[in-house]
Subunit: 246 residues, 2 copies
């Protein structure tokens, strides 16, 4: 028996998110179904965490235990030929038997892409948030800086989450720009439900001049998400990678 | 009566190309239908040239004559709200009555994107050609350089084109790389049917070591496309822009 860690990329456009749900097309559901068929044994992968409908992943991580004789360097190719083209296994490696993708992540990184301009560009429509108000990159950088460090992010969590401990540490929150496309990168030791999309919502309010970055510490102190109602939409979000202690 | 020049972006994935065809979803067909409805007058746009099924455009150009009272700076927004999200008008401007999008182009630029690696990445599957053999950037740069200048590109034209004059001038043919994505940019005074995709096909043969760049002048001298059979697939191609004499 081996414990196998998969790194997975998917285009979230046509998936109802990660988590399996009866009657809906989800990444977890498609992976379980395909792996069960290809390996000819019942497979249920454990993901590092859920992603919502339309959210993408460049480096989602999942693990499962198996007796498969397929060598792990040939594993991605063998399985990818049975997976639909909007999800692929990037790599597979053997990990210690106690490795658990959901409980053990030490660090996650997300990207959020914003297309800024008057017209919603067709080639980005499923891969970025079209924001038409003019954005100030420097103001957004300032806003992002306010989130770095350890904070209670309760005000940045969507309801419906059973999580009790809401303190998280953000290691990095940066922004870069290429022409009309802004890319925000946020790295932390963990994220609450919708936390990145709520941070981006506030950063865009600052970038468009409707909120002062100096107000962010106050917003962070609130214990309800009353002022962080603006939730950036899912299609701009990418789970970039998940890191574990080696 | 005004002559209106439109700059158009589209995601070619779900279009059967530019040119209108009965019963098929094409960019020209969708534009004619939408403009006719919005302007309440029969509109038939003239495009700078066709693009094939799955080929994208960042700056396709078309023109049409109209009596519309809609001001041209508000025109894109007014029409885009009626267009499907995979095609959008980026800008509209009034041009002299004798401007003709198809006959007058002085210069066109295409991009071709290649994703190089062992796995076909889901987020690029409709936006780049997945090429799994290792590519040498410097060799590809050398190969591209061989196409710059005036050449008879008869051997790089797919059959089915009625074109008789096959001499074209390439002003620029460059390559850049970001991680696993190569972007080839080719600018010329005109392009034959499938010419960019056939040039890319040869460049990839050189990049993967199966052809020597030094053989390209010989291939250019051939009068049939026997050695340029390798036609790079459509989803990597983008019509970047079309320039006219001012």
């Amino acid at each position: 028996m081996k414990n196998i860690k998969l790194t997975i990329e998917y285009d979230g456009t046509d998936f109802c998110g990660w988590q399996k749900q009866i009657g809906l097309r989800t990444v977890e559901g498609v992976l379980n179904e395909t792996l069960t068929k290809v390996l000819n044994e019942e497979v249920e992968v454990i993901g590092s965490g859920r992603t919502d409908s339309k959210v993408h992943a460049l480096g989602q991580v999942a693990n499962f235990k198996s007796d498969t004789p397929i060598s792990l360097d040939r594993f991605p190719r063998a399985v990818n030929s049975y997976l639909p083209p909007d999800v692929a296994i990037i790599s597979a490696e053997e990990v210690p038997m106690d490795f658990h993708a959901r409980y053990d992540p030490k660090r996650k990184t997300y990207l959020y892409k914003v297309q800024n301009g008057s017209v919603c560009r067709p080639v980005y429509r499923n891969y970025a948030y079209h924001y038409y108000r003019r954005l100030d990159e420097e103001k957004m950088r300032q806003a992002l800086g306010m989130f770095v460090g350890e904070h209670d992010f309760k005000a940045f969590m969507s309801s419906g989450s059973p999580i009790k401990k809401t303190v998280r540490t953000i290691y990095k929150a940066e922004i870069s720009r290429e022409k009309d496309l802004f890319v925000i990168e946020v790295e932390g030791n963990g994220f609450l439900y919708n936390m990145v999309r709520r941070i981006v919502g506030v950063v865009l309010e600052v970038g468009s001049g409707r909120l002062d970055a100096g107000e962010i510490p106050e917003i962070l102190k609130e214990k309800e998400n009353c002022r962080t109602r603006r939730l950036a939409p899912p299609q701009g979000l990418y789970l970039k990678n998940v890191e574990y202690e080696v």
